[in-house]
Structure formats: C-alpha cells, structure tokens
C-alpha cells in the first residue's frame, strides 16, 4: 500500500513509498532510519503524534523531524 513519507532530516525528502500491510510506525522508522533513535525524532502520522505500534493505513502521511536541529550564524 502507498504512504507519503516526509523525512525532514538533512535535505528533506517527501515522496510516496510502498509499504507492506500491517507495517507499524516503529517498523517503518527502523526501515527508513536504520541508524536513528526514535526518541530523537518527532514522528507524526497525518500531523498527529501517534504510538509507535500504530499500524499504518493506505494514504497515511508520515513525517519524521529531528528534535534537535542546530541553527547557525551568518
């Protein structure tokens, strides 16, 4: 089934991906962010905070945003 994945880590990636039926939020995170720790990210489904074991549905919008994004000075 198809979901919109928005990865706001680094350059920002937003595109539709195919996932298996029954994929949970935690599983998708582990697949897409194998070196990341979930607690270091804001993970939202359809713009809402969700439990890690929530099963994703067709057409869900999943966004992954780092909690720590360092600014700079020009």
């Amino acid at each position: 089934m198809r979901c919109l994945l928005i990865n706001n880590d680094g350059a920002g990636f937003a595109d539709y991906i195919n996932i298996d039926e029954g994929t949970t939020v935690a599983k998708l995170f582990a697949q897409r962010m194998p070196h990341g720790r979930a607690e270091s990210y804001l993970i939202r489904v359809n713009r809402q905070p969700v439990a890690s074991d929530q099963v994703l549905q067709e057409g869900d919008r999943v966004s992954i945003t780092p909690t720590k994004i360092e600014g700079a000075s020009k």
Partner: protein
Amino acid sequence: MKRTKPETVKAAIVLHEQLFGKPPHSETVYLPTYGWDRIQKLQRQIRLARDRGWQAARKSLHEDLANELFDFRRQLEMPLQQLQTTSRVPSRKASVTDTYRDVLALEQEFEDYKLDMDKKELSVTTDAIELEEIYLGPFQIRLEWGKPSGTSVEYRVIALDPHPAKKNECVTHPHVQDECLCEGEGRAAIAAALAEGRLYDFFILVSQVLHTYGRGGAYVELDNWEGEPCAECGDYVDPDDRFSCQRCYSVLCTECVYSCQSCDESFCSDCIGTCPVCNCKTCFSCLNECEECSRSVCGDCRETSGLCSRCHDKQEKEREDDTTEKAPVKTGKE
C-alpha cells in the same frame, strides 16, 4: 469523523491560492550576466594593455579581474542553489486539502495561531524557550507573502518577551538576529517544506531550530549571553562597564581593571607592574631600568640621568662629599 470548519476551509482555499496559486518568483533563475560582461571587458582591456606594452596598467587590470572573478563566483552560488533546490523538489505540491489540514494541525500544535489575509501573514507562537537555563521567551514565527520586497514567501522570527544578548540587543536568540533565523542544519529541509507547500512541516522545523542550541555557531554564545565574564573575578561585565587589558586583551570589570599611572591605559593584574620607588601601578612599557641598580621604575621616579631617584640621590651625595673633601681649608693668616 471530525467536522469540517467552514471558516478554516475558506481560509485554506484563499491561503493556498495566494501562496501557491501563481508561480513563485524564485522559479526564474537569475544569472549574473552583468558580472560576466564586466569580466569580458576587463579581458579586452588586458589584451590591449599587453599589446601596447602598458605593464602597470596590465598589472592593475589583472587585480581588477581577480576581484571580479571572486565576486562572480560568489554571485553564482545563488542561482546554483536555486536550481539544486528546484531539481530536488519532487513534482508533488500541496493541495488545498493539504493546506486545510496543515492549518488545522497548526491550530492544535501551537499557541496563538493567526491568519491575516489582508496583511498576508500566517503566524504561530512557540512556547517560552529556555536554552541552558537562559530564558529567551516565546517566539512568533511569521510567514509573509506578497510583500513589496518582491520575494514570494519569507518569514520572520519575532521575540515576544525579548531577553536579548547583553552585547547585542538585535540578537534575541543565539541563532536569531534582526528577526532573521540562521537555519543552519535545518536550511535544506525548511526550503523544501516551503517549496512543496508543507506549511505544518515548515513551522515545526523552524520551531525545532529555535528549541536547539548550536554551540560554537551562534551570533552570541549562551556563555556570554548575560555579558562577558571578567577574566579576574568571573562576574558578568555589562558592555557599558567593560574594560580590556591592552596587553593580553582579557575582559575586565571596573573592580579588577588597573590603570597605568603613566600612560592611563587599562591592564589586568598579570600585565601591570609596580614601581618599587613610589609603589604606583605602572605597565611594563612605562617601567624603565635604572642604569645603576637595574630596578624597573616609573618615569616619575627615573631621573634624566637614567638613574632611579634613589641612585641619583646617592650619586649626588657622593659628588657633594667629594667636593667637600677637595675644597681648600682656609687659615687665619690670609
């Protein structure tokens, strides 16, 4: 199923049309053709100078050419970045439904959500931000569009309860100066969110940058937020009461600074000496060696003879004693 809010739907339709209805100005890639024309003109002038043997002119033109090329390289960065962003952005753009859902989510996520269609501003307010126990207050993230400046969309970060850095009032957050956020690590993701019309993601990203302190990359580091610490006592120094040692440039407060009694310059305790004759604080540049005893004394305690006042007096006394010994003794027969 949640009930649709008619007023929010209407706002989302108008907002979507105003923000994304027309092609943004940024789709036109500006190329620095004027800079290139200047470079070609200089090339022609250099050839002319070479053919006519004008060496000095040729050298000067080469310097001008180097400066123009340096500027041209810098001018190329903007269109290159623009093209890289455009090519990377997928064809998917936010729909009106996306904008509507973003607006609803923003109302829930942030305090004080405001949409002003007349002013063409969409703003949210963060919670009060505190970084490393320094209170910075809440910030309004204000997205603006259709401004006279010509840019399609821009945003500002406004401190609502400002506690700016002591040394620069324009810096209200380590990464915000003059209401402009330096996005650092978030730059590409913020640009992508805006380009794709993902308003919710945009505001979340900016908020996360505001909630993060990038040590070593701030306009003013948090260690110096309340003022710079005095190198001697460690107390924070108000910028108006700040002194700097003229030798080692350390920051000093009014209590710890020493003033040289000869030159009046400021020094720390390690960089100032004491005249052994008058006990006044004197910097090492104003202390001079006595040619007799080699003690370093201040100008007031050093005679023109190059001796300190003690050695000078001693020498004067010895001279007087010599004069007294050599003077003829008067007898009564004269």
